[in-house]
Symmetry: C2
Subunit: 240 residues, 2 copies
């Protein structure tokens, strides 16, 4: 049996949906969407509805849902809280269906909708998700969310960390330059991950808005065993 | 006076023309287009007409031009030779206007047409072009051609080598994650550039067609002082 193919995509603008119909797509947006989603499930959320438009989030709020919603780093007036992982405490989310407002994320979920499966990756669930991927015997695409369609370093580094684990299993091969680059960048970054993230553009953007308190947490490996997966457009806990 | 901004673009699909109207754009496509263009000028070509369509190249041939034209690595039947830098010898090109067929390249030139200036970069002219850029006091975009809109490593590494030289001048700053990644990848690759390029997808593609003999040459720094520049859609020698 041949090895499964591992690819990495650095931006929604580079995603080739037709090539990945049989693949498992891992969405990586570590500062902060996919870290927040992993945290919510770790703290007992039952499901998360990702919504793209502010008005859609507002409608969910009117119908009684707990809503996390920001635009440009500011919590929207009708929302219960913002998009930081620190907001998704057990007290707030356990047993609940949440609404998470994310323009970038919903676009990516739509782009990848023809894939075999879409799962949510971050450092917080890296070992559990890597083990699960290895057990699936499918091609894998590490899909970095980027920022406004641009390449970003923090998601690339996390993709490199996933790629290292998958390739070490001996079950995957890659001829994808993006994967090779992610591996090399991870090898540079992992020597001092916190220091490395200091130079990243997204950190600068978050810091300017006082939203950078969660970055150390977002770099923590294996905070949870949860593997969020998209089913019918909704995020659910794959393990339970 | 503030520092000038340095950015890197990894693919035509990621180029943001509106942001770069006042910038000098350096097109980097080292295996093999921009290396071949630098070689042609080093060997005395007077100008190069980049054409996108095969039929356009054929028309130029009928009108008596010397035409370099390949598709998928095969020399087209009407062409004088293919796209390898080794074809652009002094005997063939000195004093002549050439036609160079490149689908990818003409698309990029069109994309960047609103920029202040478009120049051609490769390892072959890296020192001369870096010095010239530093003398211009303009924002710079390192525009990697990629391959079929995908990220590629060889152009990224070359962009990292340019970025290192520009930043060392102290005249530029960057908050662009792509530039930071290119710098880190260059720092990994430069220890053994030939060995590093061994793993690159484009090398595999060229090797499968027997077109990889020029790769060592394409990695040679400072073969020429020439700085090809686009003027009215035509490549000319900026220095002369």
């Amino acid at each position: 049996m041949g090895k499964k193919n591992l690819e990495t995509c650095f931006s929604p603008a580079l995603y080739e949906a037709d090539l990945h119909k049989g693949s498992i797509v891992v969405i990586i947006d570590i500062l902060r969407a996919t870290s927040a989603i992993c945290t919510a499930f770790a703290n007992g959320a039952s499901s998360i509805i990702p919504v793209g438009e502010v008005e859609e989030a507002r409608d969910y709020k009117k119908r009684g849902y707990l809503v996390a919603a920001e635009r440009d780093g500011y919590v929207l007036d009708f929302a219960d809280f913002g998009n930081s992982p620190f907001n998704f405490t057990r007290e707030k989310v356990e047993g609940k269906t949440l609404v998470y407002s994310t323009t970038n994320g919903t676009g990516i979920i739509n782009l990848a909708s023809s894939a075999e499966k879409i799962v949510i990756g971050s450092f917080l669930n890296i070992s559990a998700l890597s083990r699960w991927l290895i057990s699936q015997n499918k091609d894998v695409v590490l899909f970095c969310a980027g920022w406004k369609n641009r390449f970003n370093l923090e998601d690339t580094i996390c993709a490199g960390a996933f790629a290292e684990r998958l390739l070490q299993s001996g079950l995957y091969s890659t001829i994808c330059d993006s994967t090779l680059a992610a591996l090399d960048l991870w090898s540079v970054a992992q020597k001092d991950l916190t220091g490395y993230i200091e130079k990243v553009a997204q950190r600068t953007r978050l810091r300017s808005k006082g939203l950078d308190d969660c970055i150390g947490f977002c770099l923590t490996p294996d905070f949870t065993e949860k593997i969020p997966v998209i089913k019918n457009g909704i995020l659910v806990d794959n393990i339970s």
